[in-house]
Symmetry: C3
Subunit: 320 residues, 3 copies
């Protein structure tokens, strides 16, 4: 079984070329590494972003059916930094109100010569369904339900590679609401593909991975054991908006049992890094000392998020 629950079938064409980015399941290690390499080339020696002309004849549309200013902004910035035209489709006032079907909207935008669509939707699998029904454009999944969030996982991998060099001998703990987190699902997939042999899922029982754990993945309901000796701690955001009310933990209890503090950090390796997809709930997933401390790479993740999204667009456009 597999952490991303939905097949990403239409994302490779007959010759194995990436034409959509729907999820990381089914993508070979070489393809992930290629995207990371392209992203890396978009950063200068100080880790700052370069500008690219790669997509100066292309148009990218943001279709966010779930509100997310932060992720939408990163895609918009990434598209502009590759010199693409960008358009934010205002879905609140759009033709969907006029009963136009989603596929008609997509075909219409394609006819307006939009080349690439960044889609976020609360329904798992919706980007896959769109990709199966429309030719000649690229779909980038910016988060679908609880299924996948591939660009988040790719930026996480880029950040880990920058700090740790290789994935082979790493121990990585993912901490928090694994069950409802598309980020976790894509991260598990990416770590597994890239060869991490010690993947640990650390969560209270009702937020733990739902189903049989993937091969080589161990589940922990105790933080101390879960992060003991690890190289990487990937914390997840408590996203109450995606939980059933019975699943929502008491914040104080959660922080005491699963929240990272300077003291608990000592259980991991001395050079272990702390990650978070943002925005951080200070005092819940992390305390401020950890969030702003020397082991935190949270802001570097943000910059890498632009680089990775630029890289995905450039690769899908066949320009790298």
């Amino acid at each position: 079984m597999n952490p991303e629950s939905i097949s990403n079938d239409p994302q490779l064409d007959a010759s194995g070329k990436l034409i959509h980015l729907l999820g990381l399941k089914g993508l070979p290690k070489t393809e992930l590494e290629h995207i990371l390499d392209v992203a890396n080339d978009l950063l200068d020696s100080k880790g700052n972003l370069k500008k690219s002309k790669a997509l100066d004849d292309m148009s990218v549309a943001n279709l966010f059916f779930e509100p997310s200013t932060r992720t939408r902004n990163t895609f918009e910035i990434a598209a502009k930094r590759t010199s693409a035209n960008t358009i934010n489709v205002d879905l609140a006032n759009s033709a969907t109100k006029k009963n136009e079907t989603l596929m008609d909207t997509m075909q219409t935008l394609k006819a307006m010569q939009i080349d690439m669509f960044v889609i976020r939707h609360k329904e798992s699998g919706l980007p896959h369904r769109i990709a199966s029904n429309i030719d000649g454009v690229s779909i980038i999944n910016a988060g679908d339900g609880t299924n996948a969030h591939p660009t988040q996982a790719l930026l996480d991998m880029l950040t880990i590679r920058q700090h740790k060099g290789s994935f082979d001998d790493l121990s990585v703990a993912i901490i928090g609401d694994i069950r409802h987190s598309r980020v976790a699902h894509s991260d598990i997939q990416a770590l597994s593909t890239l060869g991490v042999k010690d993947i640990r899922l650390v969560a209270p029982e009702n937020l733990q991975f739902n189903g049989e754990a993937p091969e080589g993945v161990r589940c922990f309901d105790n933080l101390h054991e879960g992060i003991n000796g690890v190289d990487v701690m990937m914390t997840l955001r408590l996203q109450k908006e995606r939980m059933m009310s019975a699943d929502i933990p008491n914040e104080q209890v959660y922080f005491e049992t699963f929240g990272l503090t300077d003291k608990k950090l000592k259980l991991a390796k001395p050079d272990a890094i702390v990650m978070h997809p943002g925005p951080v709930n200070r005092g819940i997933e992390l305390d401020s000392g950890v969030a702003d401390g020397p082991q935190s790479v949270i802001l570097q993740q943000v910059t890498n998020g632009i680089a990775v999204r630029m890289a995905v667009m450039v690769v899908l456009a066949g320009k790298a």
Copy 2:
């Protein structure tokens, strides 16, 4: 009498040069053909849009007082494809709330060196009134009340010309809510100017053209007679938001009497094309078989919509 009900007087300067696009009434055939020619040059041999640098020193503002994501997007994309700066003026939060008069808003935007304004408003004639009161900028009417929608008619004409070559010997049926449709009014005007001799308006009595039919235009309340032997079927969208409640037809009855199906299509010429301004109400104006069938040119209309709007901007800027 004339299908567009309002004079477009200020749109030509003393030398006959087009300085605004308010409507098609009063525009000579050569001017329409010039815009279509410029639009055609913006398409490559496969019908895909080229990019242009024509307006790289200009700024275009979208002023949509009526919500319309689709049309606004097409103007924004068109402006960006001509390399203009674009700005969407947020009218909900704008100075109009602060009791600034509309003309003060326009003069202020002009002083910010906006060169061209795309205006949609529910009041018929408002773009004309603005054009009469402000110098040195160009106004493009993107739909005013029930009066006119000239760029929609121009894209329709471009699509017909691509398929039929010339207008002289065509039979064209416009089907649906003629009475409330600014699209219909501008289409009738355009077809008439371009020399179509057989124009048929096909509608239930309460949605039929209001007043004396223009010369050479025939009204039908029966679809079978109306589309018998025609070359072009232009269907209109049922726009309930612009109708009085008493005028709104029962959708099932409308589809049975005026909706296009594969079977009814056989009444027209075998190579007749089916048009719709979008978004289509499937099962009301058309069934899905027709919308997606080989005679449908609906998506080509969308692409032509960008080309025509680019062409209008380029012509108004004096760059073609």
Copy 3:
């Protein structure tokens, strides 16, 4: 004491270089003149705006916590005219909803490699607080509470200089709601720094400058005396949304006592200019004859507003 009430300490670096624009207090005359000179170079001989490539490798974000379409548009247009990437951060739907702290939001946007932030907020001093807490980016104050609005004052100074040449011998009257007006506070500061010796504040008692008048500044509660013989009349907008209800004057009474008419204009010098930050309440601060008359420079202020904002960005970027 000082008209802008808050220290602008972090805006100059150790070498005296401008790195933020928080207010005009503490800025030397040479710095103000430098910004005005750069702005002037961005205008051609007819007063029209040039385009600049100065910021083509930079990104500017608009963070408007108070709605203001007009000012936001001017900053967006200014940024685009310097070839910067621009992004409007949608604060209604943003991470602030997710309890992200403002400083986390700023650090995240910085990590997305936004170079410059344009901030408007109803809390006096907020841009200063942000500038004190974040390195490596520039903050431009687009209006904070009742404290300061430095770019408005700079565009006012540019306009005065264009008409009057030098500031030394001018008499300038500021008329209206001085008390609640950040524009007035910054204008008084700018006029004072640039050497105007006769600054008059003309207002009803409950809207008059609150506290001890700055040195060389005289208060008037009578318009006739206040504008007698002046070179410049700077009228202020009655902003009811920032007043306590007890302070709001009867509009008719206000117009009769403090509103400018052609007749009252004769009290000033024959070549006196009339200014207003817009949008004008016709018949309250000015009548239409004055707003549209030969002494009005209101629309020129709008154009200068773009030039000055471009200049501020170029100077902060170290490109002039």
